[in-house]
């Protein structure tokens, strides 16, 4: 048996061949394999949370209709004050992100400054919601953001692939929290999700949530790797049932990353969860949101799917790096009436 499997509390053996193999192994002397149900996600684990789908058979998703609805919400015409307010909101919801192999304390420090005061000449704009970095840069970020409301989010759990043993992932998480991370952006094991080992996905999220302690947990589904909306829906429900505070589309390392229909679908899962439990889960599209126009489209998705309560950085975030400057440019355009030049805005 592989070590990573041994960590899972939900391992089950389902066919004769495997049983035969076990009988020949040293495990014969160990405790008998536990009776395990096929699926363990859902209400029983968390007292009412996720109780909508007792047998974990969430509703199907029709791709074409979902995409149509998402596109139709992209046609809302946002003018004047509405646009200004939307742009300001987008800035406040931004998780300014740098997740590169070449990240340095200098780069992270500059990003922190940008998050605190996105527009050097106008302190009323911003700050952003958080910056998002690798664990090694949490300490730097924390220090640079001291005294501000900007949170530090750290990716963890063998980001971006998640293809490491659970104990490593949990250690990754604990270290990031110990460094001072306010929020943990974990990745799910997409391989396990795609082979239907939902128990493994669920348990790893639940274990990571426990390892987070006081830190908020965002669960990255990496929707671009899941193949269909049905699997995305399933993964969203698993993540919420296992304890996610936020569900997040993407690592930013895989294309496609966040899209309006994927985001709409995840918002709908959050809505179903809210109907069933009264608990509000947050949403974070990440990767691929580059323009102010796109950001406003996402805000329309939130407004018309979940309503006023979710129009806050507490429940909605953008994971982005290039988005901020475009939003700032549009903000200035809206305020002055003139189209802006790119170099008028700091590039950090």
């Amino acid at each position: 048996m592989v070590a990573s499997h041994a960590v899972s509390t939900l391992e089950h053996r389902s066919d004769i061949g495997e049983t035969d193999e076990v009988l020949e192994s040293d495990d014969l002397a160990g405790p008998p394999p536990q009776e395990q149900p096929l699926f363990k996600a859902g209400a029983p684990r968390r007292g009412g949370v996720g109780s909508m789908y007792a047998l974990f058979a969430p509703p199907a998703v029709d791709a074409v209709a979902l995409e149509e609805r998402a596109a139709s919400l992209g046609k809302r015409s946002l003018k004047g004050e509405t646009k200004l307010a939307g742009l300001r909101l987008a800035i406040a919801m931004m998780d300014l992100t740098t997740l590169e192999g070449k990240d340095t304390p200098g780069k992270v420090s500059q990003l922190c400054q940008k998050a605190r005061t996105p527009l050097s000449n106008d302190p009323s704009v911003g700050p952003c919601a958080a910056i998002c970095v690798y664990p090694n840069h949490v300490v730097t970020a924390k220090a640079r953001l001291a005294g501000s409301t900007v949170k530090v989010a750290s990716v963890a759990t063998a980001f971006p692939s998640g293809q490491s043993p659970l104990d490593i992932k949990l250690a990754d998480t604990r270290r990031a929290v110990d460094f001072g991370a306010d929020e943990i952006d974990m990745v799910i094991d997409r391989g396990a999700m795609l082979v239907g080992d939902f128990s493994k996905v669920f348990d790893e999220i639940a274990a990571t949530k426990e390892a987070c302690g006081p830190a908020h947990l965002k669960v990255i589904l990496e929707t671009g790797e899941l193949g269909s909306y049905d699997v995305i829906r399933k993964a969203s429900e698993l993540a919420i049932a296992a304890g996610a505070d936020f569900i997040k589309t993407s690592t930013g390392k895989i294309q496609p990353a966040a899209t309006p229909p994927v985001t709409l679908l995840m918002l709908e899962v959050i809505r179903d969860h809210y109907y069933a439990s009264g608990r509000r889960i947050g949403m974070k599209p990440a990767g691929g949101v580059r323009t102010a126009k796109q950001a406003l489209h996402y805000l329309v998705l939130v407004k018309e799917t979940l309503g006023d309560a979710w129009l806050t950085p507490d429940l909605f975030r953008f994971g982005a790096s290039a988005l901020l400057n475009d939003v700032l440019m549009q903000l200035e355009k809206q305020r002055t009436g003139n189209y802006q030049a790119a170099d008028d805005f700091s590039k950090d």
Partner: protein, 504 residues
């Protein structure tokens, strides 16, 4: 196994958390008005009749006003054609048919029709605005649906004009002659396109009568036809009311009558032309079932329900006006529907964010109000979206009824407004029985994730258009038309050509 939330599960969950579960679609980030500017649009103060390639004063000497139903402001005056005017138009069409149009090469007919398609695309914005002003429909619908589809219908049929010999497996075809066409007010320009494009492609000439309350875009289309230099008399537009339509349908030199409108008028026309050898196609009313199974893609089904009944204020003959929902998901669907309806924006048809526009006319509003009152009297439970109604114009909020039965008037009669009647079923065959339990048969919707069930239902439902996991989709390549009292003949696709040809 039903997997969506039942009412009881929901309540239990609520008790467990003590939270107040209600989505609030308030004004935390409200949309500012986003009006489409009509500045670019020119509407003449008065329009004559378009007969024989000229704009003529009606022999009747009468004009009537056409108003904007969202403001009750007068937009223009249009001619009220009498029987003599209709006779002029038919004579012009006959002359055009006999002397050139029927003898022109198909390839050349095609080029004229392509010209019309292109001109509609070029003038799309102007036409969309006028459509919304004259008919009350939201600009986003006239802009994104009516106009692109109208152009597409001309574009599609243009290509048929020189390929008719291929259309019926080598069976010989010939044009019919003069087509008298009478269209409704719900998709004024689009219905004109549905009628004129195939008629011209098949080599017929046309006398078209637009609806009394929405004549303007047909008149703008006449200007396009003029600018496209179609030979005079190939298309003639006569405006007027029911008498004008009756004169056209019963004119002895009309070879083909095409009518889209109410079933009662359709029956009158069918009766009127009995024994005349005129060809007839009718596209009449409907009371479509939109069937939602428990295994449906629920959220998309809710969008489909909304699109099915609130699209174009429900002024749609194929509207999904009877929602048949599997009983186990009834409460879930109703809850989601209410929240979805809370985001519908009702107001000025020219506002780009308006989802639901004005009711087309005072008379139609009265009809809707009458049937809604009947629903209430029958003890059905009414829910209307909390939209504030403008003080001027004709408005009715998106509404649904629960607790209705198949015998309710609101479950049997076509309301032709934004009013949905919700019924439940337990088994697929019960859904089929209820869906077919109507004298109409225009369309039906089925929502389920199970492929075999879609095809089973599609086979059993007696309707001309079946939308599986979608609703209210239209395309010029796709034949449209009804079973039973929803009329006969098809519009669109290869099959639609048969309505304008004699096929051996």
């Amino acid at each position: 196994m039903a997997h969506t939330m039942t009412k009881r599960e929901s309540e239990t969950a609520l008790e467990a958390t003590g939270a107040v579960v209600a989505l609030d679609f308030g004004k935390a980030w409200d949309y500012a008005p986003a009006p489409e500017s009509p500045d670019h649009v020119h509407i003449d103060p008065r329009y004559g009749l378009f007969i024989g390639g000229r704009w003529v004063t009606p022999r009747s000497g009468r004009f009537f006003q056409t108003i904007n139903p969202s403001t009750e402001e007068v937009l223009s005056e249009v001619a009220d054609a009498n029987a003599q005017d209709v006779d002029d138009a038919v004579k012009a069409a006959r002359e055009a048919y006999d002397t050139y149009w029927s003898r022109m090469r198909g390839a050349d007919r095609a080029k004229y029709i392509f010209r019309i398609a292109r001109a509609i695309q070029e003038k799309a914005r102007e036409l969309a605005i006028v459509e919304s002003m004259d008919g009350g429909k939201p600009i986003k619908e006239s802009r994104d649906i009516d106009l692109p589809l109208a152009a597409a219908h001309f574009f599609y049929h243009a290509g048929w004009a020189d390929k008719l010999d291929y259309a019926f497996h080598g069976r010989r075809v010939r044009s019919l002659g003069v087509a008298g066409q009478i269209i409704p007010w719900n998709f004024p320009l689009l219905m004109a396109a549905w009628k004129i494009a195939p008629a011209l492609a098949c080599g017929n000439t046309v006398v078209l009568k637009p609806a009394e309350t929405t004549p303007l875009t047909a008149l703008l289309l006449a200007k396009i036809i003029e600018e496209a230099e179609l030979p005079p008399g190939v298309v003639n537009i006569v405006t007027g009311g029911g008498e004008t339509g009756a004169a056209l349908a019963s004119h002895p030199d009309v070879n083909k009558v095409a009518f889209t409108g109410s079933t009662s008028v359709g029956k009158r026309i069918q009766r009127a032309i009995a024994g005349t050898h005129k060809r007839l196609s009718l596209e009449l009313g409907g009371k479509a079932a939109n069937i939602v199974f428990a295994d449906a893609p629920i959220d998309q089904a809710v969008d489909g329900i909304v699109n099915g009944i609130y699209f174009n204020q429900g002024h749609v003959c194929c509207a999904g006006s009877r929602l048949l929902v599997e009983e186990s998901v009834h409460d879930t669907i109703v809850k989601k529907l209410r929240d979805r309806m809370a985001t519908l924006r009702m107001g000025s048809p020219l506002d780009k964010n308006t989802d639901v526009g004005a009711i087309n006319s005072k008379a139609q509003l009265a009809r809707i109000q009458e049937l809604v009152a009947a629903g209430e009297e029958e003890g059905c439970e009414r829910y209307s979206a909390p939209c504030p109604l403008p003080s001027k114009g004709y408005w009715f909020p998106p509404t649904f009824f629960t607790g209705a039965s198949m015998s309710s008037r609101i479950a049997r009669e076509e309301i032709f407004g934004p009013v949905l009647t919700i019924l439940t079923f337990r088994t697929p065959d019960e859904a089929v029985e209820k869906a077919n339990n109507t004298s109409y048969g225009l369309s039906a919707g089925v929502w389920t994730d199970k492929g075999a069930k879609i095809f089973y239902m599609a086979t059993k439902l007696k309707a001309g258009v079946i939308w599986g996991n979608t609703f209210n989709k239209f395309d010029p390549t796709s034949p449209f038309g009804g079973y039973k009292e929803s009329g006969f003949g098809r519009e669109g696709g290869r099959q639609g050509l048969a309505a304008y040809l004699e096929v051996e």
